[in-house]
Symmetry: none
Subunit: 230 residues, 2 copies
DNA sequence: CCTGCACATTAAGATTTCGTTAAGACACCA
DNA sequence: TGGTGTCTTAACGAAATCTTAATGTGCAGG
C-alpha cells in the first residue's frame, strides 16, 4: 500500500504528541495543525487521506471545520472530542464526519478506527472510483455512458431496471434486503411494495438471462437479493 | 496481559478458600466478599474483570445481586450454584449472568471457565469497534453482507437459522437460555415452543457440520445453548 | 432392566414468500 | 388525440420455509 497521509488538527500539545508518535510508529505519514484555519489550509494544499480533528479548537468550532472541508472534499474525518455528549456526536456526523472518538481514548482504539477508515476507503475505491466500468461474467456496465451489455450485445433497460442493476452491481456479493432496495430505488417514501420489486426483478432477470448467467442474481427467501461475483 | 482481577462472592468459607487459593496459584488477583451487599459494594469500588458469584447468599438473593450490578456494569459474571437449583441457574442467566458452575466443581473446570471468559472479553474488545466480520474456527459471518461461510464455502441459511446463528455468535462463550433465545427470535410474543427451537438447531448444526466443528454449538441440558470459542 | 425425561432428527402437511404473466393506469410526445 | 413505452397492481402456480408430529437416542433413577 502506498503511503497513507493523515492530517492531525489538535491544539492540546500532549495529545498531539501522543497521536503523532503513535502514527509514526505505525508507519503513517502525518501533518499537523493546531488550529482550525491552518487545518483547513493544510487539507486544501496537501490532500491528506484522513483527518483527525479535535472539536475543541481555539479559533473555529470543529463543526465549522468539517463543513468547510466538506464543501470541496470527501476526505474521511475522524472527530476527537472531550465532549461525550450525543448531541455533539450527532452534529459532527451530520456535518459529514465519518467516525467519532471520545477522550480519553486508547491508542489501540485510534489505530482501529484508522484501519476501519482505510478499509472503507479501499472498498469504495474498488467500487466507484475506478474505471467507471463494471464487469462480472458476461455482464458489463459502463456507468459513464449508462450502457449495459451482455456478451457484447446491448441491453435496453428501463430506468428502474437500470437503477436496480446498478444497486446490485455496486454491492456485488452483498445480500441486500428488500427494504434497503426499495428505499434506494423509490426513495424513503412508504409506497411500492415488495411486489413491484419482484416484477422488476423478473424483468431484469429476463433481460440478463440472454447469456447463461442464470444465477447472476440470487434470491434469499425472506431476506432480499444478491448479485454474485462470477 | 495486565493483571486480571476477580471478585469472589461466596459465604461458604471452605469453598472460598479453595477458590482463592486456586486463583492465587494461577496468578490471578482476587477480592472477596461473603455476602451480597459487600459484593455489590466491592464491584462498584474496585471494578473487577470478572465476578464469581454464589447464588446462595445469607443476605440477598443472588439474582438480585446480578440485577443490581447489571444496572451499571457489564462485568462478566460466572454463577456458582449448588445442585438442584436449575431454576435459579436459568433465572441467573436470564438476568445477565454469563456462565455457570455447578457444585461440586473441579478446579480445572473453574479455571477453564475463567479462561473462556477472558477469551471472550478479549475478542469482543477487538470486535466491537469495527469488523463487521465474525470468525470462529472455520465459521465466518459477514454481518454487513449477511454472508455465512464454512471453510470458504458459502452457506445458505433461512432467515430463522440466520437469526439464531447471529444470536449465538454475538454471545460466544455465553450460555443462552431457551427462553432468552425464543424471546429474541420470535419476539416476546407467545411461545413458539422449545420444540421448534430444537428443529432449527438441528438444521443449523447440519449445515454447519460441513466442517468437523461438530462441537461449535453446545447443548446445556435443561438450560439452553452456547456457542463456544474455538 | 425398565421407565421417564430431555434432546436430536426426520418426515410431512400448512403457510409464507417468490416468479411470472397479463391487464390496466399513467405519462410523455408527436 | 392516439400511440408508445413504462409503471403498477392483481392473480395464481411454484418454491421455499415454518410448524407440528412422530420416532430414535442417550442418560439417570427406581
Amino acid at each position: 500500500m502506498s503511503e497513507f497521509k493523515i492530517l492531525i488538527v489538535e491544539d492540546d500539545k500532549s495529545i498531539m504528541n501522543l497521536i503523532s508518535i503513535t502514527l509514526k510508529i505505525n508507519g503513517y505519514t502525518y501533518l499537523s495543525a493546531d488550529c482550525g484555519k491552518d487545518g483547513v489550509a493544510l487539507c486544501a494544499s496537501h490532500h491528506p487521506d484522513l483527518i483527525l480533528l479535535d472539536l475543541g479548537l481555539p479559533d473555529m468550532d470543529g463543526i465549522e471545520v468539517i463543513r468547510t472541508i466538506r464543501t470541496w472534499a470527501n476526505t474521511p474525518i475522524v472527530v476527537i472530542s472531550a465532549r461525550g455528549e450525543d448531541k455533539d456526536k450527532i452534529d459532527a456526523l451530520d456535518s459529514g464526519a465519518d467516525d467519532y472518538l471520545t477522550k480519553p481514548f486508547s491508542v489501540a482504539e485510534l489505530l482501529a478506527r484508522i484501519r476501519a477508515v482505510q478499509r472503507r476507503l479501499q472498498y469504495s475505491r474498488n467500487d466507484s472510483l475506478e474505471e467507471s466500468v463494471f464487469e462480472n461474467g458476461d455482464l458489463k456496465i459502463d456507468y459513464a455512458s449508462s450502457l449495459v451489455t451482455m456478451n457484447g450485445t446491448e441491453l435496453h433497460l428501463t430506468p428502474i431496471e437500470y437503477k436496480l442493476l446498478i444497486l446490485l452491481a455496486k454491492n456485488v456479493g452483498k445480500v441486500l434486503t428488500h427494504s434497503y432496495i426499495i428505499d434506494r430505488i423509490w426513495g424513503n417514501g412508504i409506497d411500492s411494495d415488495i411486489v413491484s420489486l419482484r416484477v422488476y426483478m423478473a424483468g431484469l432477470r429476463k433481460k440478463l438471462k440472454q447469456g447463461q448467467n442464470s444465477s447472476l442474481i440470487q434470491t434469499h427467501v425472506g431476506i432480499g437479493y444478491q448479485m454474485i461475483r462470477i
